[in-house]
């Protein structure tokens, strides 16, 4: 928590610079200061990761060695293999991939369609529905946990992957809102031109709106991906048999043993982190632009 303390002082140099704009030395000093603080901050935030990597390569009896060692005395690469195979993680990975991709796809398809309806089509009662949609943003999903579970249990879908997948195909209010806001910024002249050429609504959505909406779509895809990849509560509620477990739920099984195998746990955690990292690196630029353009800055 102490890491938060130095931050407020940051403000002063930030604006300080502008006060002395033109004075080159102050500018340099300012740049060095910003860099120093950023470096210090990022080291502080990276240290837990480094400890994760370091622990993942230690032998079981070296995890809590005295004194703590950042470099393991011998690199136990087999922790990665052992951790992965001690529990059926290949199965967990498959389940996570199914759930995550079905959700990303479902969110993209349904939310795009609904957002297009809200942003572009003049339909009776649309505004009332949009207000309703905004209101549902306020409802914490915890309220509906119990009845939703009873609903899925009534139709016999508990202990299948369906309860984790189906809702995404009916749109997610937050994503619909984001996309709708973004679609509103696309000039209507473009659809009107396409309409003149006799294009259908679906064609306009596909050919005109979507190509211009990549940043917003990437934002939805990434949020949906990370959210589902790391979700624990829903799998915990709906999945009973181990062969349906997702990675997050599988990781939690490590505690089930008599004592926690931190080295293997960390190794598998790192493996589960890799796909998220890859997605973020690939889409980072578009993602940041999407957050800016969809006005999530609250403007």
């Amino acid at each position: 928590m102490s890491r938060v303390l130095p931050r407020p002082t940051v403000v002063a140099p930030a604006a300080h610079r502008r006060a002395l704009l033109g004075a080159r030395r102050a500018g340099l000093l300012h740049r060095v200061l910003v860099w120093a603080l950023l470096l210090a901050g990022s080291v502080l935030f990276l240290l837990p990761f480094l400890w994760m990597v370091s622990t993942s390569l230690k032998a079981s009896d070296a995890v809590f060695s005295v004194p703590p060692r950042w470099l393991p005395s011998s690199f136990q690469w087999r922790n990665y293999v052992d951790g992965w195979t001690i529990l059926p993680f290949t199965t967990f990975l498959r389940n996570s991939l199914i759930v995550t991709f079905a959700n990303v796809l479902g969110n993209l398809v349904s939310c795009t369609l609904v957002a297009y309806g809200f942003a572009r089509l003049r339909a009776r009662g649309k505004n009332v529905l949009f207000l309703l949609l905004l209101a549902t943003l306020m409802i914490p999903r915890e309220v509906t946990i119990v009845p939703r579970f009873l609903l899925f249990s009534e139709v016999g879908l508990v202990n299948t992957l369906w309860p984790l997948i189906l809702p995404a195909w009916f749109g997610y209010p937050f994503f619909i809102f984001l996309l709708r806001q973004f679609f509103m910024t696309i000039p209507r002249d473009l659809d009107d031109a396409a309409r003149m050429d006799g294009a259908s609504h679906l064609r306009i959505l596909w050919d005109v709106i979507l190509p211009l909406s990549r940043p917003a779509l990437a934002t939805v895809a990434i949020f949906s991906f990370i959210g589902n990849w790391t979700n624990l509560l829903d799998p915990l509620i709906y999945l009973r048999s181990t062969d349906l477990y997702t990675l997050a739920l599988g990781l939690n099984l490590f505690r089930g043993q008599n004592f926690t195998q931190f080295n293997m746990l960390m190794a598998v955690s790192i493996i589960t982190l890799v796909p998220v990292l890859a997605v973020f690196f690939l889409a980072q630029r578009t993602f940041i632009r999407g957050v800016t353009l969809t006005g999530m800055g609250g403007r």
């Binding site: 930030a14 990761f49 339909a123 009873l150 609903l151 009916f170 749109g171 997050a248 800055g297 609250g298």
Partner: protein, 318 residues
């Protein structure tokens, strides 16, 4: 509603022959309803239906084996007067939110301000600070259990080496909530990115004007930056308050559904989970959910109320 929409119609496409225009409205209405329908169906099945069902269940005793039995306000009575754990869970949740939300906002703002100043390698630093937010919560929770282990953890070893007091992060009831705060603050990246976007949107000429008026750095921050990004602050504060009041995963993974030493890390959603899916008291759990919902609603409304005093919206933007 329909009346309100129709008069605006001619304004859109320019000159439209009335009869054609009318036909287009109905065609568009059909298309519009079709496009929106997935959400409407989903809303009925997954939100409104469950919401109503959950009100009903909260007045019943239901264990999923026998059919629900109507008990009136009994669940709420027990919840408010007879349940020793609920006040504990509520207090824990509020203490956690009060610690977490301000720290979260300040950390995200501080780092975003710094990043905004960095001309080179912003992407590199941004990725580093965002990394923890992408780590699965289960992994994050275990990582911090490891680092904050009271006896052998890295942090306490370091503190003892410096002759500082080493708190019982996971064993001392006074510290368990702080442990969760630490692990959650680490993952502040989402808020940071929202702040970065907001900072990029502050018009530079406002700073120039303030400078001409002789405002110093602090005054410019207070007078220009803070008001201009107050919308983002409000968004982040509201969202993180709601998610703090719903805290579950970290507490569950670190301390399981019993909530650690002396229930000090038992949060409301954990308690709900325990009643519903470990004790199968569905009616009672639904009552807990409604109580939590009402509390969140009140807190959110208060936040909205006060936001008018400090959130600045640019004219003309919606």
């Amino acid at each position: 509603m329909a009346q309100a929409v129709l008069p605006r119609e001619p304004g859109r496409g320019g000159i439209v022959v009335p009869s054609r225009g009318r036909r287009r409205v109905s065609e568009e209405t059909v298309a519009g309803w079709t496009a929106i329908s997935p959400w409407v169906v989903g809303f009925l099945i997954f939100t409104l239906g469950p919401l109503i069902a959950s009100i009903y269940f909260s007045f019943t005793s239901y264990d999923m084996l026998r059919s629900p039995r109507w008990v009136g306000l009994e669940n709420y009575r027990r919840l408010i007067f007879d349940d020793a754990l609920l006040p504990k869970a509520l207090a824990n949740t509020f203490i956690y939110a009060l610690m977490h939300v301000p720290l979260h906002v300040v950390t995200a703002l501080g780092v975003a301000l710094l990043l905004n100043e960095a001309r080179q390698m912003q992407g590199f630093f941004r990725t580093i600070f965002y990394l923890p937010s992408m780590t699965p919560a289960v992994a994050t929770a275990y990582l911090w259990i490891l680092i904050l282990n009271p006896n052998d953890g890295l942090v306490n070893r370091g503190l003892r080496f410096l002759n500082l007091p080493a708190p019982g992060w996971t064993t001392d009831p006074d510290w368990t909530k702080a442990t969760i705060v630490v692990s959650q603050i680490w993952a502040f990246g989402g808020a940071m990115i929202i702040y970065l976007a907001a900072l990029k949107g502050v018009p530079q000429d406002l700073y120039e004007a303030a400078k001409l008026d002789g405002a110093n750095a602090w005054q410019r921050f207070r007078g220009v930056t803070l008001p201009m990004i107050s919308g983002a602050t409000f968004f982040i504060a509201t969202i993180s308050t709601i998610s703090s009041l719903n805290v579950f995963t970290q507490g569950y993974v670190m301390f399981d559904s019993r909530g650690g030493p002396e229930n000090s890390a038992l949060f409301v959603v954990m308690y709900l989970f325990r009643r519903a899916f470990e004790n199968f008291q569905m009616g009672y759990a639904a009552a807990i959910a409604w109580l939590l919902f009402l509390i969140i609603l009140v807190v959110t409304l208060i936040q909205f109320r006060f936001s008018k005093r400090w959130v600045y919206y640019e004219a003309g933007e919606t």
